[in-house]
Symmetry: C2
Subunit: 456 residues, 2 copies
Amino acid sequence: MAKQRPRTLSGFMELLPARQAQFERMAELLRRSYALYGFTPLDTPIIEASEVLLAKAGGETEKQIYRFTKGDSDLSLRFDLTVPLAKYVALHYADLSFPFRRFQIGKVYRGERAQRGRFREFYQADIDVIGDGKLDIVNEAEIPAIIYHTFTALGLERFQIHVNDRKLLNGFFSMLHLEEKSGDVMRTVDKLPKIGPDKVRELLMADGVSLSQEQADEILKFISITGSNDEILNALEEYRGRHGSFDQGLDELSTVVRYLSAFGVPEDHFVVDLTIARGLDYYTGSVYETFMLDHPEIGSICSGGRYDNLAEYYTDKQLPGVGISIGLTRLFYVLEEQGYLNDELDTAPADVLIFPMTDDMAPAITLATRLRAEGIRAQLYTEQKKFKQKMTYADRLGVPYTAFLGEDEIAQGKVSLKDMTTGEQRLMAADEVPAQILPTLDARRAAAPIREPEKI
Amino acid sequence: MAKQRPRTLSGFMELLPARQAQFERMAELLRRSYALYGFTPLDTPIIEASEVLLAKAGGETEKQIYRFTKGDSDLSLRFDLTVPLAKYVALHYADLSFPFRRFQIGKVYRGERAQRGRFREFYQADIDVIGDGKLDIVNEAEIPAIIYHTFTALGLERFQIHVNDRKLLNGFFSMLHLEEKSGDVMRTVDKLPKIGPDKVRELLMADGVSLSQEQADEILKFISITGSNDEILNALEEYRGRHGSFDQGLDELSTVVRYLSAFGVPEDHFVVDLTIARGLDYYTGSVYETFMLDHPEIGSICSGGRYDNLAEYYTDKQLPGVGISIGLTRLFYVLEEQGYLNDELDTAPADVLIFPMTDDMAPAITLATRLRAEGIRAQLYTEQKKFKQKMTYADRLGVPYTAFLGEDEIAQGKVSLKDMTTGEQRLMAADEVPAQILPTLDARRAAAPIREPEKI
């Protein structure tokens, strides 16, 4: 028969079993972390009616959409989890309780140009808190806590959450009469870490942005405000009283910083950063970006912010919210590339691999059944293979324990249990096995999926 | 602004939060159950190249495919999890260890005619064991154990797994020289529960199937073999020695039944059923169907079987396997329809809802942080609302506990904890809260998602 060459589309992540186990562990920890903060899991269709999904989209996004017809229907695959959330909240408004806190981990689709590290199908892991009409500032202070807790649970240590406030930023630009140019200015400011302040000043005054000397100096002065969070907030107080929006933004930012320690976020993991703005016009208050300290070149690994109007394309209801998104597939790819995946993580499909050494499989099956009842993942290996091949199989799977059941063991009601890490083999009663291995399994299971490489 | 009416496509399940929490609990228990048997989680793209995905498909399936082009690529959405598994195993053959045991819970797409209870996007929850060249019969005996354990873990009690063997069936048809007509015969036999044996005999002898009186009698005699599993196997022994395939099938079936009790499957949950065959030509050994005893009209809720050649469209390698599939979305729909979803299941997004009663939120935030550190899901309610509205929110979310922090409580370092089930409210030290509520939360969390309705 002619064979079809099997292949997976480029831009689509497909992992081998051990890697997949690491990915699943990350997703599980995200679910657990989000749940600790009172978010409810949500799932929405991957396919939506194009007119619904694209009510707002345009430009670059629209070009990347997977859009097609089936019968009479014009359909599209979702390209993020925010638009489906907006649709969901507008559609089910009467059945929801606000503030509505949901998390969603799901695949989204963007037909980007294929290149290394770019994915056309990728997981996003989002949380959002949606208010009905209003939403208290405490929610904006809680978000960095969730980011902190989540990455810490994953095993990441050297990261920092950067926070700014769009009201403060917009207010500042208004003081300088630069409302119209704020986009250009922020894009230029964004280059600061790469090109330095002098070049930034030059670009701000060049054709295009065309700021005056005085405006450029003010901006350079503003973005050079650094130090501890308290020092930054104190420096910002100097601007107070000149613009309402600035003052409101400063109040918000101060509140966010003030509640941080109560939320358990160490000061060194959280910085006020006046240079971040987030591209989208969408955000109206706090904005967040998260950076790996040793890999700033990767960019933000968790971003989001406060918005005033989640579902304005679907409803007249004012639905303000605050949310963040982790690009999980890309993050996983980066962590693998940079050697951040913890190879000590338990990725074996079983805790105990049982080798029956007799024709009658019943004793081995009984052992497996008993172990499973204790919550131990047990696999029977019943293929007719040489001993060496069986051991190779156990090694490749990475199982921590193997159990042998021969005539002798069965006659004595015992089992030969081998610790695959130490190589030690001991004869013990089958009943003893759970107590013997469960504590070691608990330790294995508690391992974090990320382990930062040792610095030299 | 003109609004786009929000809607979700028909045939796409989108659940409200409490229902979604029940669905998630089911999926979590499936993952846990599959993992206990040594299956590793797998994830494959939802989009595949059409020539890869449709290498085998044809007829009804092909018409239902979501197929479209993007740029130069002819793409299709997967319509099951078996074809992607075949592709995966053929593609990654050199990196896998056999037997390869994987589970996958994922969405698949079929553009079926829209009708109540039919879904175009639905979850399948599959397990498969794939051998390299050979695969031991013990794997076929283990499958009913996995089905039994899985549904029991979900809370279902009144179900039965039906097992037959295709070799036995094919051997039997060969004895009667009915190889060519076996499909027609089985389709007719399938009507037995509805129309009774006399009508079946009539149809078997009518134009179309056109069996002789003697052949029809033999078939009626065969399918009327019922009783305990041992009684059925004894009756089948009468046929031994007349056809090699039959004898082999009988050996397999006997082995499967013999190992059942070692696998912990009670006899009353497992029946040899000579009338099931599974539509697909694909299956070559054991076949399984699972029925809810009180709702046979729903049909099989978990089906599968043994096959000889998983990936013949992609590779010359002989890759036999055995697997089962649960149509999770449809099962969930049916369970809801029939009143099988356990309304006692904890679907609240938080264990404790905290109401700060002071302007300074720091004490409430500190309490939330402390509870979360103990694994308690805590949510802060910080909106400015009337007390009654706050209580309504707590009730609608279904949280088991609320905590109030006013001036008095803060001054004493205490918290007023209200048990929302009993209505009892107690003042206690914040440190006492975890010990007070964690045991009750454990009990809530252990609840099964399915609870069978009381029979009248």
